[in-house]
Amino acid sequence: MRVDPVTLEVLRNALQSAAEEMGVTLTRTAHSPNIKDRRDCSTAVYTPAGELVAQAEHIPLHLGLMPAVVKKVLEYYPVENLEPGDAVIINDPYISGSHLPDVCIISPVFVGDAPVAIVANLAHHVDVGGVAPGSMSTTATEIFQEGIRIPPVKISSGGRLNRDLLRVLACNVRTADEFYGDIHAQLSANEVGGRTVKELAEKWGTKTLQFYMREIIDYAERRFRAALRTIPRGTYRFSDYLEGDGITGDLITIAAGVEINDVGVRVDFTGTSPQVKGPVNATRGVTLACVYFAVKAVADPDLPSSEGIARVVEVITPHGSLVNPVFPAPVAHANINTAQRIADVILGALSQAVPGRVTAAGTGSMSNFTIGGRDARGRYYSYVETYGGGQGAKQGQDGMDGVHVNMTNTRNTPVEVIEMNYPLLVERYGLVRDSGGPGEFRGGAGLVREITLLEDAAVSVSTERNAVKPWGLEGGHSGRNSGCSIKMPGGAVEQATGKFTRELPKGATIILETAGGGGFGSPFARAPEAVRRDVKNGLVSSNAAFEEYGVALNEALEVVTEVRSKKSDV
């Protein structure tokens, strides 16, 4: 069959549509807030051999998980042994996946007796058991403490739901109602996707559909390779740090060499710290996601996600290291902090090849903030939110203020909703002045949230870039680090670290500041007018304008002096 470039684009649209319709079904029918509001889920269509053809992802973390999972499952259940109406469930990170709350369901699609495709979806469940509610303990030391592990097993056979299995699973999770609801949502998403793909097979013919499914992957591969040819050949090395594993505060190294060669990219994490005791170990699937994210963002941000990406990027993850831990290391928190840092390392390496196409380091954490307890009427509540911060600056453009960067993109919770639902008073929600790294292009500003407890509560914070600041590029300075302090009811202020869990009394105020982004280019090269505008808008202080940028302003905010050399000359 000869490839028709028009049919290729038409069928690519149709299969992408199928994946997106699965995503809509899943987010609309799920019960967990993680899936329906934060959209922590992905849906995809595959060839019968398990090669990813089209994916609708809502957060980049799933970029690396979806290409691998179906092939792994097919090792347990070869497609020729599957029947119409079968569905396989899996969440074991040590077979394929990120952490236990990410549950994947896989269904074959048949036309007559022949499998023509596979559809699958992955969704973050609100709870899968383990020592901590939400299955995200910060102090777990074995995966057994993080929840129930599900190897690839049939949850549905020939269209009949395996109720025995479901009952076993449901009695191991805290929120059984949500669990049942989410599983049903995941099954119906696959049903919707399967129906659409089947219609396509009937319309175009199975042979044509399968030919073009493979061609869509080849197309992405060709397109990605072509995009990579714009990056100079060479090997670029970079390393960065995590500030502890939740058990100790020791720095953990993530190091990578990124080789751009004639056939693609080879990323080698040799030199990365061995796996650690606490739950910040990143499974290979998470590591792959971070690498794919960074390379795609730099080379071709609009590239459709498919197996084609995996064919071009080779990733070496040393056995037993932080980026490919060995069973039974705990893994739940890799998504919050480790993933952000792995992406930073790859971007840092690529900055040596194409500095103009990379951002300086961003806020560097999903900055998780949890407050739980009982409200005045004695009802249990749990406020959980992840905070963005500054985006790193880039060639020709300042970093964005107060956004999520890298591997996540979930929305904030409105102040009015927080105060309506929880015994909390929000005192301040804003951008942090002088937190964006100075540079010709300024790093984005970090966020600050000040929350006062109206009842006693347990407070847990998990953030990064507390000690190791987000780096700048091309002479740009680093962004300001994150910080947390607690104002006690008596007025005493205590400095807190980036990761803690403690009981606090009614009336205490927690002030959490997230890190700003790094700057790009020398601050002395920044246009005085841009410095003046930042001062006028209150994002940079007059003092910093002079100290960092060498621009002195008078009271009317007119530029009076420019000192465009080393500060020692002043």
């Binding site: 290729l8 649209n13 060709r222 397109r223 941000p301 808008n537």
Partner: protein, 683 residues
């Protein structure tokens, strides 16, 4: 004396005019738009159409106007200089937004800048808590200091949005009174009057947008009224809103943001009118012009509404018709990407330079160029007599597409059409399949300059059995506005579990809102008997964060009312989301009331009996891989008994309809072409 109503729709390239007599007689005209001051084209066109038809100004009873003044001000960031006053500690809410970035992988895709600058945002020490109680009152000295700063900053318009003002507006009202007294020359918009709903970012954004466009709309309406007033129709002027109704000029000057998303509303009104006339009450409207396509689904004669509107990336949460817009039109540019696939859009050649075949310096092949190369467009008779140059289109498609992909020019051109259609099919699936509707149960009403050319292929792809092309596809939006009624929307956040007590509160608050509505519409000159009321409530399963809107008109009160509403919610939830959770607690979130003032009924003219068309001439058209000679009929000769078996082309001044082999087309008595797609094999 014969009375007329006149609709004027300002578009990017042309301003369209529809003049309708009380007997159903219809006249249309177009005037090139004048973007620097849109009122010039509006006034010139009114003058032209009335003069040509020998209609006196006094005979125009209603002047219905869709304007893009506010829309363009926001999109082009040319709004007024706005000062925002907000609660201490929250000046950055408008800049942080929802903390998400607009593109997952593109570092350079930025969050939109809101239409206010951070140095003109002023915080005031005041606080109302979530239950509506006051925990800190604003001090008047601070209010005065802020007023001074606003003055120093040269702001032209003020927005006030304080935390929890939707439940207790006292502080906002206090500020409004004080600021209006201290700064009498400025417009003051307060959030609790415009959008008393929770979620501070969306409410602030809506309030700021209103503040930014108010001075512009005020000036624009002032100019129109001044020019028309002397001619006697100024008092008959109504402005189109995003919700599909019109408002009197006084309200448009205060709540100008209600006009911001009104651009595509006329097309939906046309769809509603067509559904009513033809009895095809399930209709998908597809309005395809030069740069974009607007799609709306009408189910059983009712459009869908949304409160999730956005403009230039900023939320605008006033109720609007639920219209899905994609960047696909005649000007969309075709290109070959790095992986060797043929792509179309999102870049558009726009009106300038326009498609290559315009001969105005465009070099990149567009959808219009492809249609011309395939013989689907007549080079001589395009959009108001423009002469198209097929040889330029051929050369461009050949060089930029065909040679690179190893295709003939015709294959490449056909490919461009198939690819742009694939994107439109995806968009129609978004409004239908994704919302729980089967497109096979619908009729596709296609208009705009380019819609009728693509409609049949889209319908076939989606299994839509019928396509409807209205008589004047290029001015359908203005024609739709002729049937608009006056509409005012009211809303109020009220969060409570749905119990009999809460339901009583819902009913009494809705009754209060209705009283306000009656007062407002009486001021607009309507009697109560001319008013219509739609009361609704947004509900959700407790714990969800998205709501569904249900009607609460009449019906029983107390437990029985709660039960009826609960069952209605379960059913709607199942329709939209595929399941129901019997026994789950429901939560009331927002109360909504729409009050309409019915404008005098309108009559649509019919074609005279008989009048099958005369012979059509033939043209070579490329269809499904081969040229064939296809009859080309002039639309003005399409009479009431006209019928044709495809293939055929129907051509008119501003649009071309393509009927495919296997289709059967006929004309109904209102002059609509009805195409049954693939209903019969070609004989």
């Amino acid at each position: 004396m014969k009375v007329y109503r006149l609709a004027v729709d300002t578009g990017g390239t042309f301003t369209d005019f529809c003049l309708l007599g009380e007997d159903g007689e219809l006249y249309i005209t177009k005037e090139p738009s004048t973007p620097d001051d849109p009122s010039r084209a509006v006034l010139a066109g009114i003058d032209k159409i009335l003069r040509e038809r020998r209609v006196g100004f006094a005979q125009v009873g209603l002047l219905l106007h869709g304007t893009t003044v506010a829309t363009n001000a926001i999109l082009e960031r040319k709004g007024a200089r706005v000062a925002l006053v907000t609660t201490k500690g929250f000046k950055d809410v408008i800049f942080i937004g929802r903390q998400n970035r607009p593109h997952l992988y593109n570092f350079r895709a930025l969050k939109p800048d809101p239409p206010v600058s951070r140095d003109t945002v002023f915080e005031i020490g005041e606080r109302i808590t979530a239950d509506g109680s006051v925990s800190l009152k604003p001090r008047s000295a601070e209010v005065e200091a802020i007023a001074r700063k606003i003055k120093e900053n040269g702001a032209e318009s003020v927005a006030v949005c304080l935390l929890h003002a939707y439940i207790n507006p006292a502080h906002e009202i206090l500020l409004k009174k004080a600021l209006e007294r201290l700064l009498p020359h400025l417009f003051v918009t307060v959030s609790s009057e415009l959008l008393p709903e929770f979620r501070e970012y969306e409410r602030t954004s809506t309030t700021v947008i209103n503040a930014a466009v108010r001075p512009l709309i005020d000036g624009y309406i002032g100019r129109l009224e001044a020019a028309l007033g002397s001619e006697g129709v100024g008092s008959k002027l109504y402005i189109m809103q995003s919700n599909g109704g019109v408002i009197a000029t006084a309200q448009a000057r205060e709540q100008s943001a209600r006009t911001v998303l009104s651009g595509p509303a006329g097309g939906v009104l046309a769809g509603l009118r067509l559904a009513e006339l033809t009895g095809y009450r399930n209709l998908i409207t597809a309005d395809m012009g030069g740069t974009s396509m607007d799609i709306c689904l009408i189910h059983d004669g009712e459009p869908r509404f949304s409160t999730e509107g956005m403009i230039g990336g900023c939320p605008l949460r006033l109720p609007m018709l639920d219209i899905h817009t994609i960047g696909a039109g005649g000007g969309s540019i075709a290109w070959v990407d790095g992986g060797g696939a043929l792509r179309v859009g999102p870049e558009s050649a726009g009106a300038v330079p326009g498609p290559v075949c315009y001969g105005q310096g465009g070099t990149e092949p567009t959808v219009t160029d492809a249609n011309l190369v395939l013989g689907r467009l007549d080079p001589a008779g395009f959009a108001g007599g423009r002469e198209l140059q097929p040889e330029l289109a051929v050369r461009s498609i050949s060089e930029k597409i065909a040679v690179r992909l190893g295709l003939t020019v015709e294959q490449a051109a056909e490919g461009i059409i198939r690819v742009v259609n694939a994107g439109m099919v995806r968009a129609i699936r978004v409004v239908s399949v994704e919302k729980g509707y089967d497109p096979r149960d619908f009729t596709l009403a296609a208009f705009g300059g380019a819609g009728p050319l693509h409609a049949v292929e889209l319908a076939r792809e989606l299994g839509i059995p019928r396509v409807l092309i209205p008589p004047f596809p290029g001015v359908t939006s203005a024609w739709g506005m002729l049937s608009a009624d006056v509409r005012r929307d009211y809303s109020q956040t009220y969060v409570a579990d749905l119990t009999a007590e809460a339901y009583a509160v819902v009913k009494s608050r809705l009754a209060q809102m209705a009283e306000q509505g009656i007062k407002d519409l009486e001021r607009d000159g309507f009697g109560v008997e001319e008013m219509g009321f739609v009361s609704q409530v947004d509900l959700r399963y407790k714990g969800q964060s998205y709501e569904l809107t249900l009607h609460v008109q009449g019906g029983p009160s107390g437990e029985a009312g709660v039960e009826a509403l609960t069952e209605g919610f379960h059913r709607l939830h199942r329709r939209h989301y595929g399941y129901r959770r019997d026994g789950a607690t429901l939560e009331v979130v927002t109360l909504r009331l729409a009050v309409t003032g019915r404008l005098p009924g309108m009559k649509t003219g019919t074609l005279p009996e008989g009048g099958a068309s005369s012979a059509c001439e033939g043209r070579r058209v490329y269809l499904s891989g081969a040229y064939r000679v296809v009859p080309v009929c002039a639309r003005r000769q399409v009479g009431r008994d006209w019928a044709v078996k495809g293939p055929a082309v129907v051509s008119q001044a501003d649009s071309t309809t393509l009927i495919w082999p296997g289709d059967r087309a006929r004309c109904d008595r209102w002059g609509n072409i009805i195409i049954e797609t693939g209903c019969c094999r070609e004989g």
